[in-house]
């Protein structure tokens, strides 16, 4: 078993929820530990070993100078680097400061903001280093995490849907909340992979899996603007967890003009 690939799980600016998805693999985690050497995963074990690592999974966005240096080092130590979760792939909710004044936020929140050291922008991992794969979601879907690991072990391409969330709703028999209730939903422009959890519970999709490749946000913006329950609702929907994903950022900007 000495040839087992090593896995490292790193945390950047984030809530730890995506790392918890790995720990949530209750049925699979023992098998995972058998086929892969978990070398660095502070959320799970204090037995942390230095690199190099075969696979590094990175959670969180880059928000400090220190993190910039850390991610560069991790890139050098990792054969495969995978960003996991919306913070790592798009900047996350903290990227809202990219369109605001970060200093002003700091002054409101902290009694002594002068102790803080932060960058003006919260950025996805890919802003600073080359990323081999991105798994979106807030949090990431544990089935997708597993699929990627299995595919890497078996040297095949992982099966990850490129369709819209609508496909997952329809295949699960979930009735469209947008069409049947007028609930604003980003499903038609959002990448599938979550299993369409929100619409299944009567909520509109808030786009945590990020924009689908080639998403027609212009058309959806027109549709959603017509059914807004309060002015600016559509803009707020785009400027949520995936706000800094280019397609949603652009959609927000167009609705601001």
């Amino acid at each position: 078993m000495t040839t087992r690939p090593t896995l490292a799980v790193h945390k950047f600016s984030s809530c730890d929820g995506c790392q918890l998805q790995i720990l949530n693999m209750e049925d699979e985690i023992l098998d995972l530990a058998e086929v892969i050497d978990i070398a660095y995963f502070l959320e799970a074990t204090r037995d942390a070993r230095p690199g190099p690592y075969t696979i590094s999974m990175v959670e969180g966005s880059v928000t400090t100078e220190h993190e910039v240096e850390r991610i560069k080092k991790i890139r050098q130590e990792s054969t495969i680097l995978i960003s996991i979760g919306t913070c790592a792939t798009a900047g996350g909710i903290q990227a809202l400061r990219n369109v605001a004044d970060a200093d002003e936020y700091a002054n409101i929140v902290y009694p002594n903001p002068e102790y803080l050291s932060y960058l003006k922008e919260a950025s996805p991992i890919s802003e600073y280093v080359d990323v081999d794969m991105e798994l979106w979601g807030c949090p990431v879907n544990k089935k997708q995490l597993l699929e990627v690991i299995v595919a890497l072990l078996q040297n095949r391409r992982p099966v990850l849907p490129q369709s819209s969330v609508c496909m997952e709703c329809k295949q699960a028999g979930t009735i469209c909340v947008l069409v049947s209730e007028g609930v604003p939903c980003l499903g038609p422009v959002t990448q599938a992979g979550c299993g369409a959890i929100c619409p299944a519970n009567g909520r509109g999709c808030f786009g945590c899996f990020g924009p689908q490749d080639g998403a027609n946000t212009d058309s959806l913006s027109d549709i959603l603007t017509d059914i807004e329950r309060y002015p600016g609702e559509t803009k707020r929907l785009y400027s949520n967890i995936s706000n800094f994903a280019p397609a949603f950022y652009e959609a927000t900007r167009k609705l601001t003009d």
Binding site: D31, L146, A172, I175, C176, V179, S180, P188
Partner: protein, 373 residues
Amino acid sequence: MSQEKLEIGSTYALPKAEFDNLLARLKEKGFETLGAKVDHETLVYEPISALADLPQGYISEQKAGEFRLKKTHHKRYFDYIPGAHSWKQFLFPSRQELFTLHKNGDGWNTELPDVEQPKYAFIGVRGCELSAIQIQDGIFMREDFTDPTYAKRRQNLFILAVNCLHPAETCFCTSLKTGPKVSPGFDISLTELEDVFLLEIGSEIGRLVLQGLPLEASSAFLLQAAQKGLERAEKKIQRELDTSDLPDLMTKNLDHNHWQEIAERCLSCGNCTQVCPTCFCWDTVDTSDLLGKETKRERVWDSCFNPSYSYYAGGNTRPTISTRYRQWLTHKLGTWKEQYGTLGCVGCGRCIVWCPAGIDLTEEIPLFREEKS
């Protein structure tokens, strides 16, 4: 009424209160009865066990991109027009295991899924829906290839059809000649009048199911009421799809600039294909376990609107929304005819209602008749 008088092709009246006995009969014969139910302000097709499960008093108001279920004061059970669910999901499930391989030494053992298929009775199949099932029959039960799951479920199937007396604004079955009256192919067809259900027997199994129920002979008065209802329904259907120049209109306008105009609104989300009762595209997906001991192959609904659908070695043959929409519509209303002998549309209107952008093919098609600019 004595039982030996029941005849295929004849129509009888059943008091509404006796309908539960009809459902019980189907259960006795091993059928799982499925029908429309109200769930979270909308309609779904699910197991039903009594008339009371049906959406009594409800109508569904439908327009492009909008579906609203409304409770009314009437007491009828079949005034609703179906929602996003279609019977396709039971005959051609959205996800279905094809086989599982188990590692055995250096080789693999193949495990085929349970060959026993469920025995369904569909309660409330509309004319358009029956035509859609018949179109999918031609796809999944061909002479050169028959899909075993579909064929078994289809052979097991009992169809209780319903004549539509209250079509929705988005219905255009009259253009495709699929409704509002159901065409042959049902086991029983039902017309709902105020106090009774008129039942026409369409098959031997339909006759056997009804045998022994307290049926009345249908009077001329009842038959006339049903006929009047159907005539009113037909008049109510205002939406039209002129099919006279199809499929040529589609196949000869591949470079029409209207494709681009539609693409500006189309979300490429795939909703139209998933709710369409005739769309049948699927993908095969493999999943395997961490230890490499097991791998499963499944068939999953796909859509020509998905970016991965047209991805082949070297690139995507339909990289834009306009090319994907064109693929869908030119197949549905064009090349489908050459492939399967009919158009792929039955006029149910689902693609209009469940398109978040409200793209309405009955409004788009005439625009292809106009000159290209």
